[in-house]
């Protein structure tokens, strides 16, 4: 039986891990095998906390419930942020009255109170024309949704419900690109690949509109909609040489591969910090079982240092 590294979890993180696994296997000439599954962050953690997988992809930090489950079986883990996903707010390309939106405007649109009431662009801002407002977003079971609501509305999972939801972001792309009054949000990669059909909205967080781009994400100016995504590594698995090699390979090659699959790489020092944590065996999460919104990279590193 040749060495095997088992990874499962988030579909958002999947493309990165797939790229890493592919290259890793090539480099090891198939002496070490890697498998990657997609059962969602929640499904991934379920397996992870039963000790069935070595690495779990996660598009959000581990939550209280999952921490408890892991603890129950004595599973310790390392939490490694590996990339940024810039949540991108997009509108139909024919929409020429929107270039820039404030977080407050987004909140007015998405907060629960808006349900059934804010149905026209001119209700968002009287300067906007009389065009029906149609909303598109990820399903309420996704990390993206949790993050967006917390960042925009101010409370995780607090959102209006009358929007078209899909787990498949391409469906959202289709929706907004065919709907003149459409507005939606999803991962940056989908915007990059569909720039012809969509228009990104720059986000004004008090300091003028900022469009998502690798630079603005990395320098922290695209806020509060850039979120880190993670892999979690089973501490016991890490004692196995194949898992150790894989994770090291992951951290080493992440900057290059993350870019290749159209996500935004974290600053080099984060990967550095990750390596250090592994070396110093600093297990656990820095988020305490809750969503962390708008956390700057610096803050993240600082928190990690406290582990």
């Amino acid at each position: 039986q040749s060495a095997l590294v088992k990874v499962d979890g988030s579909s958002t993180v999947y493309p990165i891990t797939e790229a890493v696994a592919e290259d890793f296997q090539k480099e090891k000439k198939n002496a070490i095998k890697v498998t990657v599954g997609i059962s969602g962050t929640g499904g991934g953690f379920k397996k992870f906390c039963r000790g069935e997988t070595d690495v779990s992809n996660a598009s959000r930090p581990i939550l209280k419930k999952e921490m408890d489950a892991c603890k129950e079986l004595g599973i310790a883990y390392y939490e490694l942020p590996i990339a940024y996903d810039a949540l991108t707010v997009i509108v139909n390309p024919q929409n020429n009255f929107i270039k820039n939106m404030t977080v407050a405007e987004l909140k007015a649109i998405w907060e629960p109170a808006a349900q059934g009431k804010i149905t026209n662009w001119n209700q968002v801002n009287p300067a906007y024309p009389d065009v029906p407002l149609k909303l598109y977003g990820p399903g309420a079971d996704s990390g993206t949704f949790d993050y967006f609501t917390e960042a925009v509305v101010g409370k995780a999972k607090s959102s209006r419900g009358d929007y078209t939801a899909s787990e498949d972001d391409n469906v959202l792309v289709q929706g907004v690109s065919r709907d003149k009054g459409g507005l939606g949000y999803f991962g940056y990669a989908y915007y990059i690949e569909n720039q012809k059909k969509l228009k990104a909205v720059s986000i004004d967080n008090g300091k003028g509109g900022v469009l998502p781009s690798p630079e603005t994400v990395e320098n922290g100016s695209y806020a509060p909609l850039s979120r880190p995504i993670f892999i979690y590594v089973n501490a016991k698995s890490l004692e196995k040489p194949e898992v150790k090699e894989f994770v090291e390979f992951y951290l080493k090659n992440a900057p290059k591969l993350v870019k290749e699959v159209k996500y935004v790489a974290l600053p080099g020092k984060v990967y550095e910090a990750n390596r250090e944590r592994l070396a110093k065996k600093k297990a656990g999460t820095v988020f305490g079982g809750t969503e962390a919104v708008g956390m700057k990279i610096e803050e993240l590193i600082k928190r990690e240092a406290q582990l």
Binding site: Q1, K6, D8, S11, Y14, P15, T17, E18, A19, A21, E22, Q25, N30, K33, V34, T35, V36, G37, I38, S39, G43, K47, E52, E167, D168, D169, N170, G187, A189, Y190, I192, E193, N194, L257, E260, V261, K262
Partner: protein, 312 residues
Amino acid sequence: MSDTAVVAARLQEIRRIIARHKRWDLLFALLGLCALMLGVLTFVSLFAQMVVEGGPRLSVDFFTNFPSRRPEQAGILSAWVGSTLVMIVTALAAVPLGVAAGVYLEEYAPKNLMTDIIEINVTNLAGVPSIVYGLLALGIFVYQFGFGQSILSAGLTLALLILPVVIVATREAIRAIPIYVREGAYGCGATQWQVVRDHILPYSSAGILTGVIIGMARAIGETAPIITIGALTFIAFLPPAPFTGEPMAGPFDWVFAPFTVMPIQMFNWTSRPEEAFHQNAAAAGFVLVLMTLTMNALAIWIRYRLRKNIKW
């Protein structure tokens, strides 16, 4: 009025009525043809679209490569092998189980409340969403029986999923066997099992096959339940072939191997942002339909051979 005149008048009346009714005949024949064409054309256009979009991706490499982040290098090797193996397990489980259940209900079961309950139960299972089968299988096959996230678990899950179709088809096929064939066999002193083995099963096999085909066509396209029980998406190696490798694999080791299947690969590519992956998805869809087609063609051929010898 003469007799002839009366008849002539009547004839005229009849002809008028017939002409009127014939219009309906024609209209309905057209309507039927249109309905048929609607179905057939939908299929043809779906298929054509997959060919047009995915055609350029079809090459030997596409079949022999593992998944990759680079769309032009990504292939479906692990997926088609996985689908084939899972289908084998599914067929091996669903066909005997479904046929045995059908035989029991049709030939053995006393016609009482219990049969009614089993009958309702079977049709009811046909309406349970496939993902629920996945949840069940995760608990039973993966954990309870300890089969793990393997080809075996997946095959059995899909077998449960298509069981109702196989059972219903089996029963219908058995019902079509004329009663006098049974009587002839019993008349020779055959026991119930001998009648089933020597007559009922051979003569109903064509109809059973139809049910197996419909069921397998559904099974090969299922995604959700297989994901639930833990099929992978990236897997760059194949299950161990019997008696190969180091240490040598046993004859059935492959059933416990991790795997992926075509619809998962396809689903994954569909939801990727890059357009090029969507072409891969179309190509995978094309291959999937082709696999279904092959399965169907095989079965239709067998069915034809079986039917040739049997006409009541």
